[in-house]
């Protein structure tokens, strides 16, 4: 039991690595603050392209969405960060992460938005248009708010997935939470830093998961 405690819950080590872990935690928060809006906006753009009336816009957009949904995000990230330099494109870790996540997250969010837009009855658009609202105004004030409300649980679930995916950034040595924790683990030869990181991820995500459950319950009832 003592071995277990000193290996996984070693308080001395936890105190010692706390500043490092905290820095990683802040980096992860920063990533979330950048990546979630990028994904949400990119998803909106992806949805608009994929539902365009022109098939010359629609088809490539749908193909791209399908491609990036089936492409493993880790492979995508390594390709962008370590592969593109061979084509003469050298990106900072943050830029590589942003691009990889834009492509991946926008595809997933885009499909969710599309389901949301399809859930809004046709009569809503007709009502808006027949009061003289333009197509863009009708989308912004009538369709989008209802679409988002109808798929809020799915949007939040995808956000949870996205936040978990930020751990991938550690493979290109971006100083996020998992990377800091793993660094601390290798410096201390102890697993406690990883436990700390896991606890921090739980603290971030558990409330979100609870909210999703609530919303699903409310929308179903």
């Amino acid at each position: 039991m003592d071995v277990f405690l000193s290996e996984f819950f070693n308080v001395d080590i936890m105190v010692k690595v706390a500043p490092l872990i905290f820095k990683g935690f802040l980096q992860t928060l920063l990533l979330c603050v950048i990546l979630v809006p990028i994904g949400l906006c990119g998803g909106l753009g992806a949805m608009l392209l994929a539902t365009s009336r022109s098939r010359f816009v629609r088809w490539p957009a749908v193909a791209a969405i399908d491609f990036f949904r089936s492409f493993p995000p880790l492979v995508l990230l390594i390709f962008i960060y370590s592969g593109l330099p061979f084509a003469g494109i050298r990106l900072s870790p943050l830029a590589a992460i942003c691009i990889a996540f834009l492509l991946n997250a926008a595809s997933y969010y885009g499909e969710i938005y599309r389901a949301g837009v399809e859930s809004v009855p046709r009569g809503q658009v007709e009502a808006g248009r027949s009061t003289g609202l333009g197509a863009a105004q009708t989308f912004l004030y009538i369709t989008l708010p209802q679409a988002v409300r109808n798929v809020l649980p799915e949007l939040l679930s995808n956000t949870v997935e996205l936040i978990k995916l930020t751990t991938l950034a550690s493979v290109i040595s971006a100083p996020e939470l998992l990377h800091s924790a793993d660094l601390a683990r290798s410096l201390t030869y102890n697993t406690s830093p990883l436990i700390m990181a896991a606890a921090l991820y739980l603290i971030m995500l558990w409330p979100l998961v609870r909210i999703i459950r609530r919303l699903e319950h409310k929308l179903a009832g």
Binding site: Q124, E126, A127, G128, T131, Q137, I142
Partner: protein, 248 residues
């Protein structure tokens, strides 16, 4: 022929085909100012399609439509400007569920007419009062009865001060005991001189309130005339048969 006729709505030879299925086969619908015209006819006769052509929710495949003298179908016509002059009331209300009753009425006032929120709210409240629902301004559509929702939808159309209001079976989705409240509003509008075209199965109300009745069948106007004449002495056999069916 002068460009501007005496008609507020002047639809001539309107045709509409969905693929190979021609639903309107050259329909004339002429509505004078302050007139209340009822469209009656069996299911599938093209009543809804005709109304929807009159604000271009459907694109007619032939014919001309003028509203207040302006050619609705001309590519140079600003369709959004025309549509706010043509109020539309739908069978299933189509209220925006994420907005309050007042929000429903004021959305176009603010975003199309560019009124300030305070101005729009004032106009919105006036129109909710007009349909007897001022006290429901803060309620969401989901909290209102069908009859109340349809009256909010009428207020939403009225708020833009349209030249004409088109109603597509405004009471068909309502429980029988709620129909009266909507018909009362329609009666008030008629008495106030609002020009309206209503597709409806409410034969008793049509007979009482309509200035003129058009009987549509198979995409053509089979017979039209004053309500009293159509209901008591229809000339056409098809009209007689239809009226006989709906009464029994």
């Amino acid at each position: 022929m002068p460009e501007l006729g005496p008609f507020l709505l002047e639809a001539r030879g309107v045709r509409k085909a969905f693929g190979t299925n021609e639903v309107l086969k050259g329909v004339d619908l002429l509505v004078a100012p302050r007139e209340l015209v009822f469209l009656i006819g069996p299911s599938g006769s093209g009543k809804s399609t005709l109304l929807r052509c009159c604000n271009r929710l459907e694109e007619p495949t032939g014919g001309t439509i003028r509203i207040g003298g302006t050619d609705l179908l001309s590519p140079r016509t600003d369709i959004n400007r025309m549509r706010r002059q043509v109020g539309m009331v739908f069978q299933s209300f189509n209220l925006y569920p994420h907005l309050t009753a007042l929000g429903n009425v004021t959305l176009a006032l603010r975003k199309v007419m560019k009124r300030s929120r305070a101005e729009a709210d004032e106009i919105g409240m006036d129109n909710l009062r007009r349909v007897g629902l001022a006290e429901k301004a803060a309620s969401y559509p989901g909290e209102l009865s069908g009859g109340q929702q349809q009256r909010v939808a009428i207020a939403r159309a009225l708020a833009l001060e349209p030249k004409i209001i088109l109603m597509d079976e405004p009471t068909s989705a309502l429980d029988p005991e709620l129909v009266g409240s909507v018909l009362a509003v329609v009666r008030d509008l008629r008495d106030a001189g609002m020009t309206m075209v209503i597709a409806s199965h409410e034969m008793r109300f049509a007979r009482e309130a309509a200035d003129r009745v058009l009987f549509l069948d198979g995409g053509v106007v089979v017979e039209e005339g004053p309500a009293e004449a159509i209901f008591t002495a229809p000339r056409e056999e098809r009209t007689r048969r239809f009226l006989h069916q709906v009464r029994h």
